[in-house]
């Protein structure tokens, strides 16, 4: 593996490990708020027990997960120094705000939630719990604004003197439609994860014939909140699909394994076997109109396929080369007004020209064949995206079915009557994590070959560090995170088995 692949793998591994802890924190924090609201409204002690028990599991996950994301920030300085310099002016602000949200707002209210039961009134503690949920969700908002900018870089311009992307309109960065769609889709997925967690563990209690009243109440909350969240994930995922259809057409084409442009109204491929060599998808099963409605919100707009988009990339590379040559001229003579004007006119495609850097260093002398090769490099890994997306969507539909059935059983007061249902709920436990990780694979693997779409190819963002350093630190991360995960599982399992009425839960601080 070369330095670029190793650096990408390291970032991907740390991000995927980090996101094992995050969705449960997002989901359980809101569920705790709901349960405590019911407690405050009804005054019934069982609801307080619910908050305390699920709060303990939330606390274990929070303690194990906290600071696992900080290692990604370590990597910006060592492995991604060129990236950090090039876009740090834009990327740094939301990242810093995310840090403040996570460490101040979230951490403060975590402390109040756990240690202020006897010091605050019921209402005050309830407010602290909801502010904990709000802080958790807000810190996700800022990191997703940063990530959304990598997918759709708005509100910034290139400054040839500082060689950086600089913010021109922070509100545009903040209200980036890709970031907003990504945020609501991601936190909804977290709510589904929290709901499945509560549902599955409660189902286990019912299967074991213990803590029935506690488990049924927990399942009722999880079923209703989970159903709303699972439906939201689909609706908001559709919004993500639309924003990607507008701004990341190649990602949509790769997800669909759509080699040629799909005429309006575009069909959606439910199943198929993508063939990379032949640029065909075999045994396609298509749903008419569906892709057109998702990606364009219309029935009269074609959806461009990979071949057409590669053709557009070729034109963008040629255009970007004009900007690149102007930049080279400015390097020699910073006062060349004509070069500055040419750069301004073509800077939008400068990133496309930089794709040629993977092929030859003196890109201004690139041949047509090399431009075609660079344009072809804009195609992400089609089979990985195709299958990851379908598996994620399939799991999303399963969650809706499971929560809808749970809700119906809850309304009928028959949650404990049907053991196959309880087993299905229990066995669903790992699935929301798989769906969430697949979602990140689609989002980030589908962004390749760009670190910032259309602005900076991934290979150019990597520092000139050593492969030994990256390999050893990657190994260190894998060992460190695996140990955390083992302890997380061990502690969660231990306190789930002890259950909500274990005597040691009464040992107050």
């Amino acid at each position: 593996m070369d330095l670029v692949e190793l650096s990408r793998l390291q970032f991907a591994v740390t991000a995927l490990y980090h996101f094992i802890f995050v969705p449960l924190t997002l989901g359980l924090s809101v569920l705790l708020g709901i349960m405590e609201t019911v407690y405050v409204m009804t005054g019934r002690e069982i609801w307080r027990d619910l908050v305390k028990f699920w709060g303990i599991l939330f606390g274990i996950n929070f303690a194990m997960g906290v600071a696992t994301g900080i290692t990604m920030e370590f990597q910006f300085g060592t492995n991604w120094a060129y990236y950090s310099q090039y876009v740090g002016d834009v990327f740094g602000a939301p990242l810093a705000i995310e840090g403040l949200m996570a460490f101040f707002l979230e951490a403060t209210f975590v402390g109040l939630f756990f240690f202020a039961w006897d010091k605050l009134s019921k209402i005050q503690h309830l407010i602290a719990t909801w502010l904990l949920a709000l802080g958790t969700n807000f810190s996700a908002l800022w990191i997703l604004i940063a990530n959304g900018w990598m997918q759709y870089p708005v509100g910034a311009h290139f400054n040839a003197d500082t060689m950086r992307m600089e913010v021109s309109d922070f509100m545009e960065v903040l209200f980036n439609p890709v970031a907003q769609a990504k945020f609501v889709h991601t936190v909804s997925a977290g709510y589904v994860t929290g709901s499945v967690f509560v549902l599955a563990i409660s189902a286990w209690y019912l299967l074991k014939g213990r803590n029935a009243e506690f488990a049924k109440r927990s399942m009722t909350v999880a079923a209703s909140f989970g159903l709303a969240s699972a439906l939201s994930v689909v609706v908001l995922g559709d919004e993500s699909g639309y924003t990607a259809g507008q701004n990341q057409k190649m990602k949509i084409a790769a997800i669909e394994a759509m080699w040629e442009t799909e005429p309006a109204p575009a069909s959606f491929t439910v199943f198929g076997l993508p063939d990379l060599a032949a640029h065909k998808t075999h045994m396609e099963v298509k749903v008419p109109w569906m892709l057109g409605l998702i990606a364009t919100r219309s029935a009269d707009t074609p959806v461009p396929g990979i071949s057409e988009l590669v053709g557009i990339a070729q034109k963008n590379i040629a255009d970007g080369l004009i900007a690149y040559k102007a930049l080279a001229t400015i390097k020699k003579d910073p006062h060349d007004a004509q070069a500055r004007k040419e750069l301004d006119d073509h800077v939008g495609h400068l990133g496309y020209a930089l794709l040629l850097k993977n092929i030859r260093p003196d890109i201004e002398n690139a041949t047509q064949d090399e431009i075609v090769r660079a344009a072809n490099s804009t195609i992400p890994n089609v089979p990985v995206l195709f299958w990851s997306f379908r598996l994620m969507v399939g799991l999303g539909l399963w969650f809706i079915a499971l929560f809808a059935f749970s809700f119906w059983l809850s309304a009928k007061r028959q949650l404990d009557r049907w053991r196959p249902y309880l087993w299905a709920a229990l066995l669903t436990l790992p699935l929301p994590w798989i769906a969430a990780e697949l979602g990140w694979v689609v989002a980030e693997y589908g962004r390749q070959p760009w670190v910032i779409v259309g602005v900076m190819p991934t290979a150019l963002g990597v520092s000139s560090t050593t492969t030994t350093n990256v390999t050893l630190s990657l190994l260190g991360f894998v060992l460190f995170y695996s140990a955390l995960l083992v302890v997380d599982f061990y502690l969660l399992r231990k306190y789930i088995k002890l259950g909500p009425d274990a005597p040691q839960h009464e040992e107050a601080a």
Binding site: I60, V66, G77, S463, L472
Partner: protein
């Protein structure tokens, strides 16, 4: 709210975690490991020397 045993386990884990993170930081990510990038070095990286 936290059981005493769990509190001890979590404190121990957090201390170990902080130690391991600090170790990883000093071994691989301290300022000595960082690559200094200036506008000129970035210009050379993108446009050439």
């Amino acid at each position: 709210m936290f059981p005493v045993l769990l509190r001890r386990e979590i404190i121990l884990m957090l201390a170990l975690k902080a130690a391991l993170l600090t170790l990883l930081y000093f071994l691989f990510f301290s300022p000595a490991h960082r690559v200094t990038v200036t506008p000129d070095s970035l210009r050379a990286h993108l446009v050439g020397p």
